[in-house]
């Protein structure tokens, strides 16, 4: 951090127009760092106006929504809706399914774009490299409806190409879409198929900014390709990796709604009913604004706790953190 960093301190004294090196207080940062404040001010304004002003809506989770009394005028019911959710008949199953799906997505989905980026970065034939790079990022643009439609067509045991391949290699005709055991793998793998290429872009950008001199000196040291990946490429993307990992842990209870909803059928429902789809089902029919707001807030709180914990761990171990 700034105070422990001699370099930063030195820089500070150079840059500031404040002659005396006072103990830094919030007030004199306004004067000393006025340029920085000017640069960040527009962003702060936008965030305050569009994100913070509507936040009074959070209290809906603690109130009975009453249109006639205005948005925040409803009767205060405290934790009533939170209790209702936790005591719900479905609560344990919903939590379990949600966590399983999102953990699987993180565990398998997080490394995939990294590996992909490292490999693409190693491809020597330029044209091929461009070609594969362009191809892998395309699936990102397929809409959910079509994506699930594609899964239905390609995975059908009778008529789909994956069905045919599985039959020909002797896996028999398992209906991948019709089982509790295959729902999570199909969901996660298709997610990786769709987004790994897109997510690898950020890593490719980080790899692009590695100083070429580092490669040269590694070669002079006699490092082979594998060692270069390990000692030059990987360290270059570690900060990005850590930050993205912290953020993805902050999404532990957020699963994609639309895809799961579209993939649901009675056979996989015991593992595919997650918080998001359940909220949709109870909310859409009966306008339960307060209830769905409470469940949403419950989700957010848990996510946020995970984020803070991950951020703390990352900071202690690698000195990289969100704040």
């Amino acid at each position: 951090m700034a105070l422990n960093n001699p370099l930063a301190k030195k820089v500070n004294t150079n840059i500031s127009n404040v002659p005396l090196m006072k103990k830094p207080t919030l007030l004199n940062t306004f004067i000393r760092d006025y340029q920085l404040w000017i640069m960040i001010l527009p962003a702060i304004l936008v965030i305050i106006i569009f994100n913070y002003i509507p936040m009074y809506g959070v209290q809906l989770a603690f109130r009975e929504y009453d249109f006639t009394k205005g948005f925040t005028g409803g009767e205060w019911v405290g934790l009533h809706y939170f209790k209702e959710f936790i005591n719900n008949y479905m609560f344990a199953d919903l939590m379990k399914n949600t966590v399983v799906i999102s953990l699987a997505t993180i565990i398998l989905g997080f490394p995939a774009p990294i590996i992909l980026a490292l490999i693409i970065n190693q491809v020597v034939w330029k044209k091929w490299k461009k070609m594969i790079q362009t191809t892998v990022y395309l699936p990102h643009f397929i809409s959910m409806v079509v994506m699930v439609g594609l899964l239905n067509v390609l995975l059908s045991p009778e008529t789909g190409i994956v069905g045919h391949i599985m039959k020909s290699i002797g896996l028999g005709d398992i209906n991948l879409l019709a089982s509790e055991n295959t729902f999570v793998p199909v969901y996660v793998l298709s997610d990786i198929w769709q987004h790994a290429g897109w997510n690898s872009i950020i890593y490719l950008a980080a790899l692009a900014s590695v100083d070429p001199q580092l490669y040269d000196s590694a070669k002079i040291d006699g490092a082979n390709r594998w060692q270069i990946i390990k000692n030059v490429d990987l360290p270059a993307i570690v900060p990005t990796m850590i930050i993205l990992f912290i953020l993805s842990m902050g999404n532990i209870l957020n699963t994609g709604f639309e895809k799961i909803f579209l993939m649901q059928n009675p056979l996989n429902l015991p593992v595919s009913e997650v918080i998001a789809t359940y909220v949709y089902k109870i909310g859409i029919i009966s306008n339960q604004f307060s209830y769905s707001a409470a469940i949403g807030l419950f989700n957010t709180m848990i996510n946020f706790v995970f984020l803070i914990a991950m951020n703390y761990i990352a900071k202690k171990t690698s000195n990289i953190s969100l704040w």
Binding site: M1, A2, N5, L7, N12, N14, I15, L26, T29, Q35, L36, W37, M39, I40, P42, I47, F50, P54, M55, G57, V58, I119, V123, W125, K130, I132, Q133, T134, T135, P139, H140, I142, V145, V146, G149, V153, S156, T159, I161, G163, I201, I202, A205, A206, L207, A208, S209, D211, P212, Y215, R225, T240, I243, L247, A293, G296, L307, I320, L322, W323
Partner: protein
């Protein structure tokens, strides 16, 4: 071919290259086949597609899907709107995000941690749709093209990505050197940081651009006038108007027969129509992912 260029390569490097090549071919095939399938399905008879008879080449060839999509004149208005929203929106996004990310990457900036926290909180907590809608109405942004551009013009995720990049890839020595020359933050940011960060700027620019391009929720909630609707809303309407009714009789009749045959053509055609323009953008951005792009720009 570079692949077989033996100059200066050891045997283990050769094996390594071949492994990489094989693996990349494997990845390519897995990704490319379903994409290819989307293309051939968009010109094939839907009944053949859904019964699995279309696998390697189109069957029952017809361009009905595309004629149906482009027959709808609203699509051109949609394209125009989306292009305007995307360009203006992305420019504004970058104007706000890049300087803010720079500031948050400066370790001497005292408010850095607290501000970062303030920003991150918004990734988790929000007031919900209705308070946001009321705010937009208050600001007169409902049924107004600026609603696509101004609100939420700082995406905290993107902000964090840029900040991380600035922190890890801009050598500290550079700023020191700049200090010696009497450079202000404004100058250092414009003259040194930005040129060095083309890669991350193009990534985040792409993220924002695609975000605007695919945005259909804003149009759905805040826009009432069809002439302001973006492409995605138009395409969604076309898509839906050609889907068979899952509740056929419930909505009163057998309307399936006619629309059925081409439903999938349109479904897949829509993907292609909405994605092609983005495809064109990518190669321009791709060149910034080449190795050594950073040093080159400092010298240049």
């Amino acid at each position: 071919m570079d692949l077989f260029n033996k100059k200066g390569k050891t045997t283990s490097d050769m094996i390594f290259d071949i492994l990489i090549f094989v693996f990349s071919v494997f990845v390519f095939l897995i990704v490319a086949y379903p994409l290819y399938f989307v293309v051939i399905a968009s010109v094939s008879d839907s009944t053949l597609v859904s019964t699995g008879q279309v696998t390697l080449y189109p069957k029952g060839f017809s361009l009905f899907g595309y004629t149906e999509i482009f027959k709808d004149t609203r699509i051109w208005v949609g394209y125009k709107n989306t292009i305007i929203y995307t360009i203006l929106g992305t420019v504004l996004n970058l104007l706000l995000t890049l300087p803010a990310a720079y500031v948050l990457s400066r370790h001497e900036f005292k408010a850095r941690r607290i501000l970062m926290f303030v920003f991150v909180v918004t990734m988790f907590f929000n007031g919900g749709l209705i308070p946001t809608y009321l705010l937009m109405k208050e600001l007169n942004l409902t049924n107004n093209m600026w609603v696509f551009i101004i609100p939420f013009s700082v995406n905290v995720f993107n902000l964090i990505i840029v900040r991380t990049f600035f922190e890890s890839s801009i050598p500290k020595e550079l700023f020191e050197a700049a200090q010696m020359d009497g450079c202000s933050h404004f100058q250092f940011f414009g003259k040194v940081v930005l040129p060095l960060s083309k890669a991350v700027i193009s990534v985040v620019g792409l993220y924002y651009l695609v975000g605007h391009w695919n945005d259909f929720f804003t149009g759905l909630i805040y826009i009432r006038d069809y002439s302001l609707q973006p492409l995605q809303i138009v395409l969604r309407d076309i898509l839906l108007s050609n889907q068979v009714f899952a509740d056929g009789a419930g909505s009163g009749g057998a309307s399936g027969g006619y629309a059925q045959r081409y439903a999938d053509q349109i479904k897949y055609g829509v993907i292609i129509v909405s994605t092609l323009p983005i495809l064109i953008v990518y190669p321009f951005i791709q060149k910034y992912f080449e190795k050594g792009v950073m040093i080159g720009s400092v010298k240049g």
